[in-house]
C-alpha cells in the first residue's frame, strides 16, 4: 500500500503563521484607518480569515495524496 510514514512537510509551517498572526492585538487594536467606516480592529481581523484560508488551502493542496 502507499501509506506514507509521515505527515511531515515544510508547507506545514504556513499553518503556524495563520495561528500566530491573529493572536497579536497590537497589530489590530486601533480605530484608524477605517475601511468603509469599519474600524481597523474589525476589518483587519476579518481580513485575517484570508490568511487562514490561504494557509490551510495551500497546505492541503501541497500535501494531498495521490491523484
Amino acid at each position: 500500500m502507499t501509506t506514507p510514514r509521515t505527515d511531515r512537510s515544510p508547507w506545514n509551517w504556513l499553518l503556524l503563521v495563520a495561528i500566530i498572526i491573529p493572536l497579536i492585538p497590537p497589530l489590530f487594536n486601533a480605530v484608524e484607518p477605517r475601511l468603509f467606516g469599519i474600524p481597523l480592529f474589525y476589518w483587519l481581523q476579518l481580513a485575517f480569515i484570508l490568511i487562514g484560508v490561504t494557509a490551510t488551502t495551500v497546505v492541503y493542496r501541497m500535501t494531498r495524496r495521490g491523484r
Binding site: 501509506t3 506514507p4 510514514r5 492585538p25 487594536n29 467606516g37 480592529f41 474589525y42 485575517f48 494557509a55
Partner: protein
C-alpha cells in the same frame, strides 16, 4: 406579531419534519444499531462533512451569544473571529491522525482513543465523563437561543425553555445523526438568506456602518464599566487572546466535533474541510456586528436577557413575515447542533460507560436504546445548567464548557502525537486541571445578576494576589496547571517505575487512509 409566529411555526415544523423523513435517507439497513443512529454509517463525503461540522460550529452561539456579548461588552466579543480563524490551522494535522487511528482500530469516541492509546480504563472513564458534562452547557446555550426567539415573539414565563427542550428531545429521539446532517443544508441556506438581508438592509436603514460603530462607541463611553469599548484595553487583551486560543484548542475536543470528523470518508476530506470551513468565520464576524447594530437601533433587552437583542433587532427592522423567517433560522440553527451534540454525548455514555462498566455483552439494539435515553439525560443536564448558573452572557455557558473540555487536551490532543505521558500523570493532571478550573469559575462573580459565583469565564489575576486589573480565560490557566502536573506526574511515575498501560496503537496507524486494508468502515467490536 401573528405573522411572525405563523411563518416561524410553519418553517420550523416543515424543516424538523424533514428530520423524520431523513431517517430513511440513504437507506440504512438497521437504525437500531448504535453506529447507524449515532454516526450515520460513517460514509460522508466533503460536502456533507462540511455541513455537518459547520452545522455544529455555527449555532445559537453565532446568532445570539456572540452579538449579545458585543452588545454588552464591545470589542471583547469579537474574539470569536480569531477563535474560528486559528482553530483550523491548529487542528489540521491533529485530526487526520485521529481519523486514521480511529479507522484502524474502530474507535468512535475520544474516550475510545484514550483507552486504546494509554491502556487505562480509569483515564478513559474520566475522558468520557468530561465529554458528557462539557457538552451540557454547550447544549444549554442552544436552548437559550431558542428561548430568546420565543421570548421576542411574546411567549412568556418558563414556557419558552420548556418548548425549546421538548422540540429538541422529540427531534433527536427519532432519527439520530442522519436528520441533523440533512437539515444542515436547509439550515445554512436559511441562515445565509437572513444574514445577507441583515447585513445589507439593516446598516442601510441605520445610516451606514460608520454610524453604527459611532453609536456603539458613544454607548460604551457613557457606561461606567471599565472593560467595555469598541477597542480592547490594556486589561482585557490577555483575556482576548487566551479566549481565542483556549476556545480554538477546545473546539475539536468536544465529542460532537470528533463525531463529525470521523464521519468523513478519508483524510483528504478532512483537510479540504479545514481549508473550507473558515468561510463560515466571515459570516460569524458579520453576524457579531449585529450586536452593534442593535445598539444603533436603540434596542433594549427584554428584562435583563441580552440574548434577546438580535431577535428584537430583526423584529424591529424587518417586515413581520421576514422576521418569522429569521426566527426560524435562529431556531433551527440552534436545534441542529443541539441534536448533534446530545447524540455525541449519548454515544460516549453508551460506549465508554454502559458497555464498559454496566453491560459488557449488550446487543446493538440495547446500545441504541440506551443511547437514546442518555441523550435525553444530557438535555436535562443542559436545562439544569441554565437554571442553576445563569451567567451574565450566554456565551459563558460555552466558555464554561470549554474550561471543562480543555482538560482532556493532554490525553487526546497530545496523546495523538506522543506516548511520552504516563497514564498516572495524565490522571493527576486531569484532577489538578479540573479542580483548578472549577475553583476559578467558582470565584468569578457576576455583578449584573448578583451571583457571587460561576458568573462568567474571565478570571481577574488580582485574585491570585497580583497587583493588576488584567483578566485571563479561566480555562487557559487550568490547562496550564493540568499540563504541569501531567509532566511532573509522568516524571515521578517513571522514577518509581509505576506500571504503565499498554499502547494498542502502532506509529503507522496514524497515517492510514481510505483504501488501506487495515482501515475499516464499520467496525463495532473495535479495540476495546
Amino acid at each position: 406579531m401573528t405573522t411572525e409566529i405563523i411563518v416561524f411555526a410553519v418553517l420550523f415544523l416543515l424543516v424538523s419534519g424533514m428530520g423524520f423523513v431523513a431517517s430513511r435517507w440513504r437507506r440504512p439497513d438497521d437504525l437500531a444499531s448504535l453506529h447507524e443512529w449515532g454516526l450515520g454509517g460513517r460514509s460522508f463525503g466533503s460536502w456533507i462533512t462540511w455541513f455537518l461540522i459547520g452545522g455544529d460550529l455555527y449555532t445559537a452561539y453565532t446568532f445570539v451569544a456572540v452579538p449579545a456579548l458585543l452588545f454588552g461588552a464591545g470589542a471583547t466579543g469579537f474574539f470569536a473571529v480569531p477563535y474560528t480563524v486559528i482553530t483550523y490551522p491548529i487542528v489540521f494535522l491533529v485530526l487526520i491522525r485521529l481519523w486514521s487511528v480511529s479507522h484502524v482500530h474502530g474507535l468512535v469516541t475520544p474516550a475510545d482513543f484514550v483507552r486504546a492509546r494509554f491502556g487505562s480504563p480509569t483515564l478513559a472513564l474520566l475522558i468520557a465523563i468530561t465529554g458528557i458534562v462539557a457538552t451540557m452547557p454547550y447544549i444549554a446555550l442552544q436552548l437559550v437561543g431558542i428561548e430568546a426567539v420565543l421570548k421576542t415573539m411574546g411567549v412568556g414565563g418558563d414556557l419558552p425553555l420548556i418548548i425549546a427542550f421538548a422540540i429538541l428531545a422529540a427531534y433527536t429521539y427519532k432519527s439520530g445523526l442522519r436528520a441533523p446532517a440533512l437539515i444542515a443544508f436547509v439550515k445554512d441556506a436559511l441562515i445565509y438568506i437572513v444574514i445577507l438581508a441583515a447585513i445589507i438592509y439593516i446598516p442601510a436603514k441605520l445610516g451606514g456602518l460608520g454610524a453604527i460603530f459611532d453609536a456603539a462607541k458613544e454607548k460604551f463611553d457613557a457606561t461606567p464599566a471599565p472593560g467595555d469599548g469598541v477597542l480592547l484595553n490594556a486589561n482585557n487583551q490577555l483575556q482576548y487572546v487566551t479566549l481565542a486560543l483556549g476556545s480554538a484548542l477546545a473546539l475539536f475536543l468536544y465529542p460532537h466535533s470528533v463525531t463529525g470528523v470521523l464521519a468523513a470518508k478519508n483524510r483528504d476530506v478532512i483537510k479540504r474541510n479545514m481549508s473550507a470551513l473558515p468561510a463560515y468565520s466571515l459570516l460569524l464576524g458579520l453576524i457579531a456586528l449585529l450586536g452593534y447594530m442593535a445598539i444603533a437601533a436603540g434596542i433594549k433587552p427584554i428584562g435583563k436577557d441580552v440574548n434577546t437583542v438580535v431577535p428584537q433587532l430583526f423584529d424591529k427592522m424587518f417586515p413581520g413575515w421576514f422576521a418569522g423567517v429569521a426566527f426560524a433560522a435562529i431556531g433551527i440553527g440552534a436545534l441542529v447542533p443541539a441534536a448533534i451534540m446530545s447524540i455525541a454525548a449519548a454515544n460516549l455514555f453508551t460506549r465508554n460507560i454502559y458497555r464498559e462498566y454496566i453491560k459488557r455483552d449488550a446487543t446493538d439494539a440495547q446500545e441504541a436504546s440506551v443511547s437514546k435515553i442518555a441523550s435525553l439525560v444530557v438535555k436535562v443536564g443542559a436545562v439544569l445548567f441554565i437554571l442553576l448558573i445563569d451567567p451574565q452572557f450566554s456565551i459563558d455557558l460555552q466558555l464554561i464548557g470549554g474550561v471543562i473540555i480543555l482538560q482532556t487536551l493532554p490525553s487526546i490532543g497530545l496523546g495523538l502525537f506522543t506516548r511520552w505521558f504516563h497514564r498516572a500523570g495524565l490522571i493527576a493532571g486531569w484532577v489538578a486541571g479540573m479542580g483548578t478550573g472549577v475553583l476559578l469559575l467558582y470565584n468569578i462573580a457576576n455583578p449584573v445578576t448578583n451571583h457571587a459565583h460561576f458568573g462568567g469565564s474571565a478570571f481577574p489575576l488580582a485574585k491570585l494576589g497580583l497587583d493588576t486589573k488584567v483578566t485571563i480565560y479561566a480555562g487557559f490557566l487550568a490547562l496550564i496547571v493540568n499540563l504541569v502536573v501531567a509532566v511532573l506526574g509522568t516524571v515521578i511515575a517513571r522514577l518509581v517505575d509505576a506500571a504503565d498501560g499498554p499502547d494498542a496503537t502502532r506509529p503507522d496507524d496514524y497515517f492510514a487512509d481510505q483504501g488501506d486494508p487495515r482501515v475499516h468502515d464499520l467496525e463495532l467490536a473495535g479495540s476495546t
